[in-house]
């Protein structure tokens, strides 16, 4: 017995192991505070709140909070918005950046390339608060550029964008693309740049036109990246960009039916209505569905293209 321990001790070089563990400690403490304790906090969704006992000591009440959430009728519209927006973003957010990346790759002038890339990445660097200011400068009913300089001179009327639901699916989709296109373009471009020039030269020798080169060389070789990105997006279909849906419509109540997603609902229920039961139920539901989807997505990627799997 003691011999075995001595033997093991010899194998482990404590002089190295202890400092290594020490160096891991700060990061692990952070993960404990920021990630693992909130995982325990999930139990809040299964408790009947009793402020006298404190939120984290309240008695359990099973799935009551979830039943309450389902019965409230709130879940349907926010789930519909979250999923539909994500689907639209997925389609446009794939087609548009790939088109731009392919075109970008045809440009020979290095200086022009650098300028374009620098410029179209600028929106990506901005916070959603700033973006909402920019959108407001265009859409405001009293001072917005679109109203004051285009619609009013032409028709004599103005459109109260922040009161009218019908415009928002388009506005939000546009803003999302505006902010994200540079990022996605660079991402797909890196794959395109990785395609060997020989494929194109061979295609040219065979007399392939530009379109044929794109259709038969570029697009097929982009396919694995596209599939991986799409699967990742599907696994995040219940998540939404809180900033986009909260800041850009200015959290306007009249627009909720077309702008509210799970994330903005959770925020409003928690911070404005102080409804911890409902908001925690919605938030936990989102986390669990997200977890199941990402595990499934990864399993799928592992099967189709192993090197792209996340774990």
């Amino acid at each position: 017995m003691s011999k075995a321990i001595v033997k093991q001790k010899k194998k482990i070089r404590w002089k190295k192991v202890i400092p290594v563990y020490l160096m891991l400690l700060p990061a692990m403490i952070y993960f404990l505070i920021n990630n693992y304790l909130p995982m325990y906090g999930i139990t809040i969704a299964f408790r009947k709140l009793d402020y006298k006992l404190g939120i984290l000591r309240s008695p359990f009440n099973g799935l009551e909070n979830f039943k309450f959430l389902f019965a409230s009728g709130n879940l349907g519209p926010i789930l519909r918005n979250t999923i539909l927006y994500n689907l639209v973003f997925m389609v446009i957010g794939t087609v548009l950046p790939i088109t731009v990346a392919i075109l970008f790759n045809e440009i020979r002038n290095k200086w022009a390339k650098k300028t374009y890339q620098t410029m179209i990445l600028v929106p990506h660097l901005m916070s959603m608060v700033i973006v909402s200011y920019l959108v407001f400068a265009f859409l405001s009913a009293d001072t917005g550029f679109i109203n004051k300089s285009i619609i009013e001179p032409l028709t004599g009327n103005t459109i109260s964008f922040y009161q009218e639901k019908k415009y928002w699916p388009f506005i939000l989709t546009f803003v999302h693309q505006w902010k994200g296109i540079g990022f996605s373009m660079v991402l797909y471009l890196s794959t395109i740049l990785g395609i060997s020039i020989e494929y194109y030269e061979a295609a040219k020798v065979d007399g392939a036109t530009k379109w044929q080169q794109i259709r038969h060389v570029t697009l097929p070789l982009l396919k694995p990246t596209v599939i991986t990105m799409l699967i990742l997006s599907i696994s995040k279909i219940c998540m939404s960009d809180f900033g986009l849906f909260y800041q850009v419509p200015k959290n306007s109540g009249t627009l909720y039916s077309v702008t509210q997603t799970i994330d903005t609902y959770v925020y409003n229920a928690l911070m404005n209505q102080n409804n911890i039961a409902m908001s925690s139920a919605a938030s936990v539901l989102q986390a669990i569905v997200g977890f199941i989807l990402i595990i499934a997505a990864n399993a799928f990627i592992r099967k189709t293209s192993k090197e792209n799997a996340i774990f």
Binding site: N34, I42, Y116, L125, V129, F138, D263
Partner: protein
């Protein structure tokens, strides 16, 4: 690659230029509208709306910012301090942990790696995070609220840096130093950290941008206006356009407040540092995106 380019290729390139010029204009135009708005006389702005060139030029909004620097400067100071402290702390956490994880012949690191992976796959959600931070750590209305939640470290960056340390730095450097009797800390400080500069620059830049742009932590945890960062101040003004007018210290001057152009001017001042620094670090930003894509 040389030789005569076909007409078709030339047409294609012209098309590419056209599309990218359009996108460039779309990307930049809103900022020009904002800048022009901040430089327009407020009465003109309310009358004619935002325009791409100021009809009546005025520095009023910026003069106001200088006059009210006590409040806006404080927000600026908070933003800079939190960004600097957060980025330094983040780089410390990322580099130490990545270095530790990249070590061989240390038992238990697999378990640690799985624990980090779990944080990427599963989270407690916004509500439980909020309750834990407010009820357990009483973070509300403290500077820690801007510094700690969510922004400081994520498993993704950690794995990115660890992979860099494992695959882009020759292993022999470390083993040679070990033979020379260098300890773990010394190897980290003198060998690995200097050689990790490119990845640390990328991760540090993205972290700094995250701190600079953050308003969600403040939205959840800060109600004390002394702790407003620039983004938070802008958000509060958004929530209540009358904010400046109703703010106690400024109540007396509300009649003469050029509200709309001021808000735009504060926004301009808020994004200026990012726009000035960005072109110099453009390379690292683009790198960050592609690295995120392949994720090691």
């Amino acid at each position: 690659m040389t030789g005569v380019r076909s007409r078709q290729e030339k047409v294609f390139e012209a098309m590419a230029h056209a599309v990218l010029i359009l996108l460039t204009v779309l990307a930049v135009a809103p900022f020009l509208l904002m800048l022009s708005g901040s430089l327009t006389d407020n009465a003109t702005l309310t009358r004619y709306g935002y325009q791409f060139w100021p009809k009546v030029f005025s520095m009023e909004a910026y003069e106001y910012i200088i006059r009210e620097w006590a409040q806006i400067g404080n927000a600026y100071f908070i933003t800079i301090a939190v960004t600097a402290a957060g980025t330094v702390l983040s780089l410390f956490l990322v580099s130490t942990a990545s270095f530790a994880l990249s070590q061989k012949e240390v038992p238990g690191l697999n378990v640690v790696f799985v624990l980090i992976l779990i944080t990427l796959l599963f989270n407690g959600g916004a509500v439980s995070s909020y309750i834990i931070y407010t009820n357990l750590f009483h973070i509300k209305n403290t500077i820690w609220a801007l510094l700690i939640p969510n922004l400081m470290l994520n498993g993704f960056n950690l794995i990115l840096v660890r992979n860099y340390m494992m695959h882009s730095i020759p292993e022999e450097l470390q083993s040679a130093a070990e033979i020379d009797g260098a300890g773990v800390f010394k190897i980290y400080l003198k060998i690995i950290l200097p050689l990790s500069k490119p990845i640390m620059a990328t991760v540090g830049l993205l972290t700094a941008l995250g701190y600079w742009n953050d308003w969600t932590n403040g939205l959840y945890f800060i109600t004390d206006s002394n702790l407003y960062s620039v983004q938070l101040l802008l958000n509060k003004m958004n929530e209540n356009i009358q904010y400046l007018a109703s703010h106690s210290e400024l109540g007396a001057v509300q009649q003469s407040l050029p509200g709309t152009s001021i808000r735009m001017a504060i926004a301009v001042v808020g994004i200026l540092p990012v726009l000035i620094i960005y072109p110099f670090f453009q390379k690292y930003f683009a790198q960050g995106i592609t690295m995120g894509a392949v994720k090691g």
